[in-house]
Symmetry: C2
Subunit: 221 residues, 2 copies
């Protein structure tokens, strides 16, 4: 007996979840409106509805935050989204820049069993094609340490473990430079004036802008 939410409600919860992750303050109406590509007035209406259903805490003019129940639902949607992305890349041979839009739809499929069966079929992946962690059945999720390539010191080596920006453009850029999850990178030098860095990757030197390096999650080796 699942609580039946509309796709729209689910999307709002997911957006609030992701905005909470990156700010720790209450989520503002305007920010949520931007994320949802809608108007602030629409957001206010929806927020009231979600508050009535106890998925968010809301006080007028003070933004929203997810309740325990709201968080649980948001994490479930994230889990579904990421598992479907793994399916699309690993089984259907999509590339990592093509799967997000389809997963946005698939994440709303309702079934008590489907996603667990899918997870098993995919052999319990821990991360999605963009390096984002996949919550388990109980909703536990291991968060990134959030070390960006831009903060790695000169002479240090690291492994690319995720992308912060999952836009198709960024991912295609990475493909073109042969940078992918698991790539080993050594920082050779850093320019002070624009924060661009020179890295060694695949035995070659490559110069990348700050814009790029600050969107790559790494693990220091």
């Amino acid at each position: 007996m699942e609580i039946q939410l509309t796709q729209t409600e689910e999307n709002y919860l997911k957006s609030i979840y992701s905005l909470e992750l990156s700010s720790s303050k209450n989520v503002s109406t305007t920010l949520l409106a931007k994320k949802m590509k809608t108007k602030a007035s629409s957001v206010t209406d929806m927020i009231k509805k979600l508050a009535d259903k106890d998925f968010v805490d809301y006080k007028k003019y003070r933004g929203v935050s997810l309740t325990k129940g709201g968080n649980t639902i948001a994490v479930k949607i994230v889990r579904k989204h990421r598992l479907w992305e793994v399916f699309l890349v690993n089984k259907l041979e999509y590339s990592w820049d093509e799967v997000h839009e389809i997963a946005e739809q698939l994440e709303h499929i309702k079934s008590d069993t489907l996603i667990d069966k899918l997870e098993e079929f995919l052999e319990f992946p821990t991360h999605d094609p963009h390096g984002d962690p996949i919550p388990d059945k109980e909703g536990n999720i291991e968060h990134h340490k959030n070390i960006m390539l831009s903060s790695v010191k000169v002479e240090n080596s690291c492994k690319i473990i995720g992308v912060k920006d999952s836009s198709s453009e960024f991912l295609k850029y990475l493909d073109s430079k042969n940078i992918h999850l698991g790539s080993i990178v050594k920082v050779i030098s850093k320019e002070v004036f624009d924060n661009s860095i020179t890295i060694e990757i695949n035995k070659q030197l490559l110069s990348i802008s700050h814009q790029i390096s600050k969107n790559l999650f790494v693990k220091i080796l």
Copy 2:
């Protein structure tokens, strides 16, 4: 550049398609209302909208029929539904009585490439788990010959190739009697008063009601 229909519109077109298959007359408002589990007045409204968009031909009080364009869309939905059902049964190990509801949702996922990639991943199945034919990419579909087990003469043998009723109850009944697609059946005798028949299957005799036998598609051997 696909024409974007709502899920509801797609479901109406699919229902009209299936009702047209089983009657050859125009589809009446009442019949469509029953199929869609809605009211006749709602159907009238939707029919007008679909007629405006040229997916159906409609004259007041005279029922509807699909246009070429409407038919094309309906067949696409059927294709998606059936391929997803194959995925659920063959890859995720669902049984044939569990997949319909989930496929009802999955059939509405929009993507120009997804279903063709799925079809390839499934190795181009020709029939779904209930024996229904899967339209190809171009919308070509091979229809059943529609021979029912109930019409097979005594002493004749046949192979079960499909079910007309795909309800979970019926499918579970078949499972319990170990009747499945591909089963070879010989008609031993027929009762005149209730049309029940005795068949030989799996080297055993089994008596089945008319209700059952008229819902099984067969191929005479």
